[in-house]
């Protein structure tokens, strides 16, 4: 018995619906206050798209990319606190490779000391291995994900500092600048990278059976193992992926500032990524997950931040304001509210029938 046609009550029960509603509402408020908020134009000098909306998407890239991996970690019933620290490691390593000459105090220029591919590939490999280390501690070591990933969260920044001797390097190398500040045709590069990651992850989890395996292990690890799923392998793949994606985010971040900043790179990214996942409708207890939901969640977070900057809310109040809007979003998504609206639309539907 499959219901055909439009089912409003199922729609109102879905958390993603409410995330979309929240995003639309915030954007609407922006539009009312500043009607030009939605205008998108092409910058005449560079030919790149330009506007608040483009800015929101582009600036959300790092969190979105990390949150794609975080979604899977949370679907496994875990979490990954080390992502922010890995962002710092990735940036530090990349800058170190490009500025191997820094001890000679050469002023930054448009060059890279080590080959560029090294400066891209090595940080990604390192972050993937660090993710694998997390996964190993969790699956084989039987540690709580919170504790296991806390290790690298705390020590990761230290590792980044050691890599760069505690110094901050800068570079002017133009191929590196492309990652965070360049563009592909009219589209800013971070958006391109983010789109590739989102589509790639979507295909990976839904076009293979990996997504189902993640959900299965997240709900019941023991039963999954007895059904022939290598739960340990699934866990290690997921945390490696999260590490890898944090590495990408780290490259985008350091390319934006053309520098490494082990103290500030990726600060609080783990919290924003977890928040994006939760707003996107994936439960912290694990199980069913939605990457589309996570994408929307991440956009909401960035929209709020832009909103705050855009309307000149005093800097001191920024965090409180952000918290306030997020609280409203989460309440909108809560079980009782969704149930209330679902019942209302059911009642309406039955009234229409009779």
């Amino acid at each position: 018995m499959k219901k055909k046609g439009f089912d409003l009550s199922a729609l109102t029960r879905s958390k993603i619906t409410w995330a979309v509603v929240a995003e639309v509402l915030i954007l609407l408020v922006c539009f009312i206050i500043r009607p030009d908020f939605f205008s998108i134009s092409i910058q005449p000098t560079t030919g790149v798209l330009y506007g608040s909306l483009i800015d929101i998407v582009s600036r959300s890239a790092e969190i979105t990319i990390i949150a794609m991996g975080m979604t899977l970690a949370i679907a496994l019933g875990g979490t990954d606190l080390s992502v922010g620290a890995l962002v710092a490691v990735s940036g530090a390593m990349s800058l170190k490779l490009m500025r191997w000459d820094v001890l000679e105090y050469v002023t930054p220029g448009d060059y890279s000391v080590k080959p560029f591919w090294m400066a891209i590939l090595f940080p990604l490999i390192t972050c993937t291995l660090m993710g694998l280390f997390n996964g190993f501690l969790i699956s084989k070591g039987g540690m709580q994900p919170f504790i296991a990933t806390l290790i690298l969260m705390v020590s990761g920044r230290g590792i980044a500092q050691i890599l760069t001797d505690g110094k901050q390097f800068t570079t002017m190398y133009s191929p590196f600048r492309v990652i965070g500040q360049g563009n592909l045709g009219p589209i800013p590069m971070p958006i391109v990278i983010m789109a590739v990651v989102c589509i790639g992850m979507g295909l990976f989890v839904r076009k293979t059976a990996f997504g189902t395996f993640v959900e299965s292990v997240g709900v019941n690890r023991s039963a999954s193992r007895l059904s022939g799923i290598s739960a340990d392998a699934v866990i290690m793949i997921v945390y490696s992926l999260t590490g890898f994606l944090s590495g990408i985010a780290g490259l985008i971040y350091s390319s934006r500032i053309m520098s490494n900043d082990s103290n500030n790179a990726g600060i609080n990214y783990e919290m924003d990524a977890i928040l994006a996942v939760v707003i996107g409708g994936t439960a912290m207890t694990g199980g069913k997950f939605s990457l589309v939901g996570t994408l929307i969640g991440s956009l909401i977070i960035r929209t709020i931040v832009t909103f705050v900057y855009y309307f000149g809310i005093v800097a001191e109040a920024t965090m409180a304001f952000k918290a306030l809007i997020i609280a409203v979003v989460i309440i909108l998504q809560s079980e009782p509210v969704r149930e209330y609206f679902a019942r209302r639309s059911e009642r309406r539907a039955s009234l229409k029938k009779s």
Binding site: A209, L226, I229
Partner: protein
Amino acid sequence: MPADIILEMKEIEIQFPGVKALDKVNFTLRKGEVHSLLGENGAGKSTLIKCLTGVNHKDAGQIILDGKEINPTSPQQAMELGISTVFQEINLCPNLTVAENIFIGRQPMKRGAIDWKTINRRADELMERFHLDIDVTRPLSFYSTAIQQMVSIARAVDVKAKILILDEPTSSLDDHEVQLLFEVMRDLRAEGMGIIFITHFLDQVYEISDRMTILRNGHLIGSYGIGDLNKVQLVTEMIGKDIDVIFNLKRADVKPDAPYMLEAEHIGVPGKVKDISVNLKEGELLGFAGLLGSGRTETAEMLFGAEKVSQGTIKKKGTKINLSNPHAAIMEKIAFCPEDRKVDGIIGDLSIRENIMLAVQARRGFLHPMSRSEQDKLAEKYIAALGIATPDAEKKISELSGGNQQKVILARWMATEPDVLILDEPTRGIDVGAKAEIQRLMLEMCKDGVSVVFISSELDEIIRCSNRIVIMRDRQKVAEVDGATCTQQDILNIIAEGAAAQKTEEAGV
């Protein structure tokens, strides 16, 4: 209304999307009686109880408690009205002490702080009343499931209940523990409490209840005194079919020259089981009898690679195989339905479809996904073949009844088209009709050449189905008997012999 009636439920109706869960059901409970509520899974027993405890809301009808109409809207409210429930799963906190568990949420206070002395003293008294000699300051998880069950009953009773509902309280207890529980129930009955008892064990119904009410498909079949119906009549009423038709099962025909499917030689795991040799022919059903903890489950786990064999060898169709993990066993076309369905079987949040396709998908690896239409076909095939009661394949498995969950797990393994199917207590906690169906399915698979290993605590079903029976005791195989000729008493004797031998041994030391 007669004075001794404590609860009356009249013309209760509950509508779920698509089905009428209860249709004009009447139920009365007297003071000082144990009243069994009987019916197959999905008959409406749980729904009726949930209606009484405020979990489900009735669409029509009346509930009258002590002459007053009540409309409980939550379990807490029902509890305040004097209706206490003990569910099958233990709803306590294993990390808290026994005493804390009993008084959680209503701790006696003294000068603004929790009065631990009183808590522990009163918990002690309560345990004494239940004939339990345990230390109430130990964490609950320290004690066996049976004792945990008792504690949850103690907690329910101590809240000054007028009505106590016991939903499958005995499914994880052994005989001695069941007797202990019955003693408590008798005491409570003598005190005038009305007890509603739900169970699948019909012997227990006859042992403890005064009256019984039978439901089928949401309809009331009738209320009877315990002497009014015998067991056969009772089962017939419950399932609406003649019991003989269902139980007319034929043992599998094994050709004398049938090749060996699986041969295990001297397998063991130190500290768990030792030196077990069993063999299994094509199309044969091998029963495993023995008490809980006799090593039955460990042996099954070894044959599936869930427990890594460290001694001995396993051969399949004459070739040695290495079962280092369940995945390896699945690649060898061995399947295993574990004992604890909730913990090791079902993936609660996933749909029936996903639960069915899981093992097949695991064998193919995640890089070779089944298409959605393949999955749908597989799910539909087994939902139909096994008669899984569900509106569609997208329902979460956790929303099904125990019997239907078990069928889904069975479907998961049948879908892998195994050569060897190992079933550990597949019929525990499910109703008579579903039990018979699962037995029929096992025997049908044997007919198709599958070799089945069947573990059960219920000797009658082991004897009814098995070609040969392996008897386990003290983590060893002690005997192997022919299923067609042996009796329950033979098996019991073999199991008891060892216990007696052990006693004399202990006495000697």
